[in-house]
């Protein structure tokens, strides 16, 4: 009994330390959504523009139109290819076990800061595993 309490105490102490470490690290990670705008304030759309794309390349003729997934995947190829790029995230958003063809714009808003759609249910998700 005494020994098990001692072990439990050590375990608890280890957990406290590891938890403290995590709670310190977490907020910084959470506040920065994946692909958040850079320090220059450029959003996804600005980066595409800087790379030489025109509005119509993504929007088509109707500038007001939402970007359909095929427009993104026309260049970014496939969810599989994207998943390979984000394989080190704790939850790989491009390889969802729940949804097929989740709209890209669920996270990649374009003209505003990106949002982390997975966090709606999974809580704060760090970028690294």
């Amino acid at each position: 009994m005494k020994r098990s309490l001692f072990i439990a105490g050590i375990a608890a102490a280890v957990m406290v330390v590891s938890f403290a470490g995590r709670s310190q690290a977490q907020p910084a990670k959470v506040s920065k959504a994946p692909d958040a705008p850079s320090a220059s304030g450029a959003f996804l759309a600005d980066r595409h523009k800087a790379a030489g794309f025109r509005c119509a390349d993504c929007h088509g003729e109707d500038r007001e139109a939402l970007i359909p997934n095929p427009a993104c995947l026309g260049c970014h190829e496939s969810f599989e290819k994207l998943a390979a790029r984000t394989k080190d995230m704790r939850v790989n958003p491009h390889r969802s076990p729940h949804f097929k063809d989740l709209e890209c714009t669920s996270c990649h808003v374009g003209h505003k800061a990106d949002v982390n759609f997975c966090q709606d249910c999974h809580g704060p998700i760090s970028r690294k595993k």
Partner: protein, 508 residues
């Protein structure tokens, strides 16, 4: 004069062009045979049935993904299925139907339930023919083997495997899927429903004219306002499990068209939340185990074995003052679930026998964070203080419970001896139990063809509904005995609504 007239014409023409352009930008129009409102398992089953029968189908979905709650639910009710026959399981349709009626105290729609029970096995075969594989299992030790759990399909798990299989089928059959396009109102032509008006994310109107409209919006579980208006529950205390944006849109639209409704309610279950509590983690898993439960008076209130029927367990906790309780266990129980595994778990997310290997780590984290939903103590008095219940009362409850456990006889509530053990090893822990709901249940009244009916049982022409938008299936509590009832009925009613729509357009 001539010049003036020409100018007038130019102005008029320009105005017309602007107007036309404006209308074009604000209005997208579709003409279909069938329009389905909501892309969960009900809507997808309806859309696939209609599309396979040769109908042009448009499916409107509010979320940026298909499936809704059906992505996360896990299994479908069926009786006399081939999967049960393969396991030499003998429950009959007759027994199941009678039990379901008894469970609902005959306050439910017997003809509709009878048809569902009759068609439940064919429902499973229909899904299997479309690439959804399942296995018949018991949801818990107290319920029959009627739960047909969906097997993973490639990268897709749980209900996601079913949803994506039907999504593929609908795409293959040429169905048009419009995501993030919530329906706002039904289009009427006299007494007939002739289409749906929706709105896209830019606020543009999307009008779908169709001969048949199928409502499948999955209930109202994410609307506090609707829960307050339509049920007896306090939405601040009975919260939805997941944020799925289900706000009763279909029920409201049907009501506006003259539909009758009944039985609005919630499918309750237990859970917890709080500081340093991992959602569906190991501490959360302990909320579905038959530990010692006490209310805020520090007293037991039920045979905790009721945990094996999740809606009843949440009923029992939900009626305690404050609508919460504490589940108490000791280091002996921690050891047990870490090495031998859980007695119940939570569905197939935490299957029975799962070893909660992270429990000690989570307990450490929760204790370190002084979690509001989890407390640890060295004595029952200390625990009483930490969970805010009268110390003397909890001491008595604890001593009585330990005595009952030691002699194998719960003199208070007749809890089965196999779920009881004296809580005398190491530290004591308490996790706070709250009621949640997986989905709302109850709503629109339909006839046996899934046609929406008014207060005189007259069908509203062109309007059908299914799934969790429907009333008449349950009484005061979700029928967990018929495990997977809601999911089974979603697919069944979707298919039947699809068949009815095909009849309506002359393709059946």
């Amino acid at each position: 004069m001539k010049r003036y007239r020409l100018e007038a014409w130019i102005v008029a023409f320009a105005a017309l062009a602007v107007l036309a352009g404006g209308v074009q930008a604000a209005d997208r129009r579709y003409t279909a045979d069938v329009v389905v409102v909501g892309g969960g398992s009900t809507g997808l089953a309806a859309a696939v049935t209609a599309a396979e029968g040769g109908a042009n189908v448009v499916l409107l979905e509010k979320n940026p993904y298909l499936g809704g709650a059906s992505n996360f639910a896990e299994g479908l009710f069926a009786v006399e299925s081939e999967l049960q026959r393969a396991k030499a399981y003998g429950l009959t349709k007759e027994e199941a139907f009678k039990h379901i009626m008894e469970f609902g105290h005959y306050k439910t729609d017997a003809p509709l339930l009878r048809l569902f029970v009759e068609g439940s096995a064919a429902n499973i075969e229909w899904l299997r023919e479309r690439g959804v594989e399942m296995e018949a299992i018991h949801i818990s030790p107290t319920e029959p083997m009627v739960w047909h759990v969906i097997k993973n399909r490639g990268q897709y798990i749980h209900g996601g495997a079913l949803v994506t299989a039907l999504q593929d089928k609908l795409t293959e059959k040429g169905g048009v899927i419009l995501l993030r396009t919530p329906a706002k109102r039904l289009v009427r032509s006299g007494s007939r429903v002739s289409g749906v008006e929706a709105v896209d994310r830019r606020g543009n109107r999307v009008v779908v004219n169709a001969q048949a409209v199928i409502i499948a919006t999955g209930g109202f579980g994410n609307s506090k306002e609707k829960i307050s208006q339509w049920t007896k529950f306090d939405p601040e205390k009975f919260k939805p499990t997941l944020p799925l944006n289900k706000t009763g849109d279909g029920i409201v639209m049907a009501k506006d068209a003259g539909a009758d409704t009944e039985g609005e309610n919630l499918m309750l279950h237990l859970g917890t939340e709080g500081k340093a509590i991992v959602p569906l983690g190991n501490i959360y898993g302990m909320t579905w185990e038959p530990n010692l439960w006490v209310n805020r008076s520090g007293e037991r209130f039920v045979d905790e074995g009721i945990v094996f029927s999740f809606p009843m367990a949440a009923n029992a906790v939900g009626r305690q003052r404050g609508a919460y309780a504490w589940s108490i266990f000791d280091d002996g129980e921690v050891e047990h679930v870490m090495t031998k595994g859980v007695k119940q778990g939570i569905g197939v997310i935490i299957p029975v026998m799962t070893k909660l290997t992270k429990l000690k780590e989570e307990i450490g984290n929760a204790a370190a964070a002084d979690s509001d939903a989890f407390k640890a103590a060295d004595s029952i008095e200390e625990l009483a203080k930490k969970i805010g219940v009268p110390s003397e009362a909890l001491r008595k409850t604890y001593d009585d419970y330990n005595r009952y456990a030691a002699c194998g006889r719960d003199l208070q509530f007749f809890k089965a001896a196999r779920w009881m053990r004296p809580l005398t090893k190491g530290k004591l822990y308490a996790v706070k139990l709250y009621p949640y709901h997986f989905t709302s249940i109850g709503g629109i009244r339909v006839n046996r063809d899934m046609a929406v009916i008014d207060k005189d049982d007259r069908p509203i022409e062109g309007l059908y509904a299914g799934g969790c938008d429907i009333g008449g299936l349950y009484s005061d509590t979700y029928t967990l005995w018929a495990s997977g009832h809601a999911y089974g009925f979603a697919v069944y009613s979707g298919r039947m609504a699809g068949e009815s729509a095909l009849k309506k357009i002359g393709k059946r």
